[in-house]
Symmetry: C3
Subunit: 132 residues, 3 copies
């Protein structure tokens, strides 16, 4: 079964932490041992894992991605969101996490982040927990 979550982003580009929402889906699945898949069905967004303790980490990541694909750069795609497409392919739109004793095996400092690269928008996120 796939659970669809709605994410409301508030900036042009941001990393929004979604760890608690994903943990809730894992808990409600009742699955003790398995894999938790996350999928972003958008082309100017992504999903990544990084430090959740200091929000400056997320800002630094977004700043370096901005250097890689700057807003003012030269692009062929004319909708103005070409940098968001580039960042989406660099960060990626799918993740596979592990579930053990009913919990995600995240490290102490790890949080899961929805990566918005062309917001603010209402976005979808798909979570699927599979036993195994």
């Amino acid at each position: 079964m796939i659970r669809r979550l709605t994410i409301a982003t508030s900036k042009k580009a941001e990393l929004q932490e979604i760890t608690s929402q994903v943990r809730q889906v894992v808990g409600e699945s009742g699955i003790n041992e398995g894999v938790c898949h996350i999928f972003v069905p958008h082309t100017t967004a992504g999903v990544t894992i990084n430090e959740h303790a200091d929000p400056d980490v997320a800002r630094d990541i977004m700043a370096r991605l901005e250097v890689l694909a700057p807003a003012g750069g030269a692009y062929l795609h004319v909708e103005g969101n070409a940098p968001g497409h580039v960042k989406s392919s660099v960060v990626g739109c799918s993740l596979a996490l592990m579930v053990e004793k009913g919990q995600l095996t995240l490290g102490t400092w790890q949080g899961i982040f929805f990566a918005e690269f062309d917001g603010p928008r209402q976005r979808s996120l798909l979570v699927k927990v599979v036993a195994g």
Copy 2:
């Protein structure tokens, strides 16, 4: 069961859309609910998801990756394909998609692309659909 697809690339570097080939494997698997894994067994290629409507998006992605690892840059690896190796690790060689009601849960604008970074060549792509 793993299905091996053959991809013939036609340029040094390109994103070639493979959505229909992957959809066909999903359909032939007969699996209604599950996960579709994609794996690229090469070190100068990758697989990514991005917009399929405007081919300029793919060109913009490749152009920014070229800035990250330029053909004329300084590399230790002397075969001339060092930039392709770098791009492969940035884009990644594996993806996990979701299958629901016998269909991939791709977003409206999402297509799956084989990323060629050292072509043209004949390449392999592995697709495995697992129920769950």
Copy 3:
């Protein structure tokens, strides 16, 4: 079942090959057909697949990531490891490999590498092989 491996890295930043350790976990699982998941529970490390034959390939990858997120760059996060966090999100911390006839379906030139971006340290790596 999840297997936890310990990785001792020896440099500030390096790609350390872990293919044989992962192969061993696959062999010990006794699973013939399935998926091998790899997860790194750290925020300044990652996991990637690339060429194992020439160690210069790994060095070139690390060198280009250093250009993307240089040690001497300007960051908000003040612990000094901001570049490691950026590189972790670019390379990624999870991989899904395929298992066929009891073996990983790696290509001829592919090796699996633990990516250290803030070492040297003792690190963990989680490996989970699922039948299917």
